[in-house]
């Protein structure tokens, strides 16, 4: 029997198997940030351990950092302390640290791929659930807890039960204004926020083949939102093209042999998945969430559904009550207060191009506060170099500095209580973007259209 892409990468990293227990899995790349690493370093100290392979770990500050005036000291004392602690830990253990102001700084899941650290066939972990992003390159990438961060720092491996395998195939051609974000939200809305728990997903079919690397990252990023440990896409010419010449990509002869070994990373025709699901591309419309988990989403032109017996009625009602929405209401035309473009889901250059393309020559609505936060300094630089900044500014938008920002509201970027934000992020949980904040997850195009009109707007009506 053939092997799936997932099997090939996983099996190549198993150091040993424990009977009735997990596999010991070797980890090729480890990303750390200021929030989930400090306690792991305390653990190392308590056990008198060193970092085993410091050159396999990469550190950035992103989660709690400010997105204005990054040249000044961080005002919030606890955030400043966390970032300082990370810097100190990295210095002590010989780990590269890309702190604020560093040209490589940015959101952990943006900087890995854009610098070629993320490559096909690798195992990649980080104390952050959206590590699934890196699966876009045909890597096995998933989020871990702080105890596991300590394991990777000290032993470059973790112990994991091999997950089951699911393949999601979407064939056909996407409709106008339907972006990778809409594809991902559509899948989650069909499977629910726990529909892929216990599985590792491979995305296959025309839609993912024709998708850009950045689009693939958006889709893999959101795999965790249906409970999957991660998602992956077989590497192809697009993957190789994206990685060629990147700072950490293999060079010269090493590049040629890398291409050879990457080219065989695909599921064999006779490989078997524990679950196969398929959808049709033309069924997908621009999507938006109405509730408090990413599975509570509808096509933007549709109404909020009535409770349909999946899950508990009280949880469904609690969710709508939090959003101050009612069953059967129309989403289009609802007034909003904030628009957020950014995050590891949609903070890459392509997202800014797409946003700018729609708003060009139009004005931001008066009632909208818009926060536009690039995923990294490199993204920020491209925004300037490509003339996108001018387009944004002449339409009344301002650009902030890179970081996770209002995606999880650890810094000062918090959506105020009761306010509605159309957000290109990954979670619409209660209070995720600030206590009492009401999040509507959508694509950069929906965010752009809504920023222009001041209400939930179908981008197809604007373009």
């Amino acid at each position: 029997m053939g092997k799936t892409l997932f099997d090939k990468v996983w099996d190549a990293h198993v150091i040993n198997k424990i009977e009735n227990g997990p596999d010991v899995l070797f980890i090729d790349r480890h990303f750390i940030h200021e929030v989930t690493s400090p306690v792991a370093f305390v653990g190392l100290k308590n056990r008198n351990l060193k970092v085993l392979f410091p050159d396999k770990t990469f550190a950035t500050a992103d989660h709690n950092t400010p997105t204005i005036n990054q040249h000044l000291p961080i005002k919030d004392a606890l955030s400043a302390q966390q970032v300082k602690t990370l810097e100190k830990n990295c210095n002590e253990h010989g780990i590269d640290f890309w702190g604020l102001g560093h040209k490589m700084n940015g959101i952990v899941h943006v900087i890995g791929p854009e610098n070629g650290i993320t490559q096909p066939g690798l195992t990649i972990v980080c104390g952050d659930s959206h590590t699934s992003t890196h699966g876009a390159f045909g890597a096995i990438a998933f989020g871990i807890g702080t105890s596991e961060v300590e394991m990777v720092l000290s032993c470059q491996s973790i112990m994991q039960q091999k997950p089951k395998k699911m393949r999601i195939t979407i064939d056909g051609k996407l409709n106008n204004c339907v972006t990778p974000k809409d594809v991902a939200i559509y899948i989650i809305s069909q499977l629910s926020s726990s529909g892929a728990t216990g599985y590792f997903v491979e995305y296959a079919g025309d839609v993912f083949k024709s998708m850009s690397m950045e689009g693939r990252m958006t889709v893999c990023n959101l795999s965790i939102e249906m409970g999957a440990r991660g998602g992956m896409i077989a590497p192809d010419e697009k993957t190789f093209e994206y990685l060629k010449g990147k700072e950490f990509s293999p060079k010269d002869q090493e590049w040629d042999s890398a291409i050879k070994s990457w080219s065989i990373l695909k599921s064999d025709p006779d490989s078997i998945f524990d679950k196969e699901i398929s959808f049709i591309a033309s069924d997908i419309e621009p999507m938006i969430t109405y509730g408090t988990n990413p599975g509570m989403a509808v096509p933007i032109s549709k109404k909020i559904p009535h409770f349909n017996d999946s899950g508990s009625k009280s949880s469904f009602s609690k969710s709508l009550e939090y959003m101050n929405f009612k069953e059967g209401e129309v989403m289009l035309g609802k007034k909003i207060d904030y628009v957020f473009l950014g995050s590891c889901t949609n903070g890459r250059i392509e997202d800014f191009r797409s946003f700018a393309g729609l708003i060009k020559g139009k004005r931001k609505a008066e009632n909208i506060d818009a926060w536009l936060v690039p995923g990294s300094h490199k993204v920020l630089k491209s925004i300037k170099d490509e003339g996108i900044l001018e387009i944004l500014e002449s339409s009344g938008f301002k650009l902030r500095e890179p970081g996770c920002s209002a995606c999880l509201a650890m810094n000062d970027d918090k959506i105020p209580v009761g306010k509605y934000a159309v957000s290109t992020t990954n979670r619409n949980f209660e209070g995720r973007q600030g206590p009492g904040a009401r999040t509507l997850l959508a694509s950069p195009l929906v965010a752009a259209a809504s920023a222009i009109t001041g209400k939930i707007t179908d981008p197809r009506e604007i373009i």
């Binding site: 150091i15 989930t36 709690n64 105890s147 000290s154 491996s157 726990s194 728990t197």
Partner: protein, 197 residues
């Protein structure tokens, strides 16, 4: 030894009959700024326990005097979302030693097992029995026996078995953790690394 050994607990339980409780609810991101593992229990379910004026929200189960114990019983898909281990630290620090639900998110379950909180996954039918039992009598006792892999409603003897891998079970019963195991095998890991790179 990394944490307390787990064998049998007999305790009352706190019910949280809500589905899809994500780790942002268990502990909001703004409380993740510590550099040491201390005091997280104070902020467990922060925004459900306290209103915007920091007043206790009286009808939230953790604030009700009727409910106490080392067992948290929650609706399905508990612990979804962020990988933050702080969520389990908060649960442990508050005083819970076991979380019972009909379904757990993967990363949350791993985090529980790594720090010595037992995730007990049971059928939806039995979960409803547990909620009904607490509603009938909030002083009702439950027994979780790790060695037998069972949970029992003491008043009526209704019990159900749960799964846990043999390896993790032995770890929990002895208070070992994965790092102990890996450190013992560091030579194998280095050999593997040299072979593949």
């Amino acid at each position: 030894m990394a944490y307390d050994k787990f064998n049998i607990i007999k305790s009352k339980a706190v019910p949280l009959n809500i589905d899809n409780v994500d780790t942002d609810q268990i502990i909001p991101a703004r409380y993740l700024k510590a550099t040491e593992r201390k005091g997280f229990g104070d902020n467990l379910f922060r925004d459900w326990r306290y209103d915007s004026n920091n007043e206790k929200i009286q009808d939230f189960p953790l604030n009700k005097k009727d409910y106490s114990g080392k067992i948290l019983i929650a609706g399905k898909n508990f612990g979804c979302g962020s990988s933050r281990e702080h969520a389990v630290w908060a649960i442990y620090d508050y005083g819970f030693r076991a979380v019972v639900s009909s379904f757990f998110a993967d990363i949350f379950k791993n985090n529980c097992l790594n720090i010595g909180v037992l995730p007990v996954q049971i059928s939806e039918g039995y979960l409803n029995e547990l909620f009904n039992e607490i509603e009938r009598d909030n002083d009702s006792l439950f027994e979780i026996n790790l060695n037998n892999q069972s949970i029992n409603i003491m008043s009526n003897g209704r019990s159900e078995k749960f799964n846990i891998s043999k390896y993790k079970k032995e770890n929990m019963m002895n208070g070992f953790d994965d790092i102990d195991y890996l450190i013992d095998r560091k030579e194998d890991i280095i050999t593997f690394a040299n072979k593949t790179s």
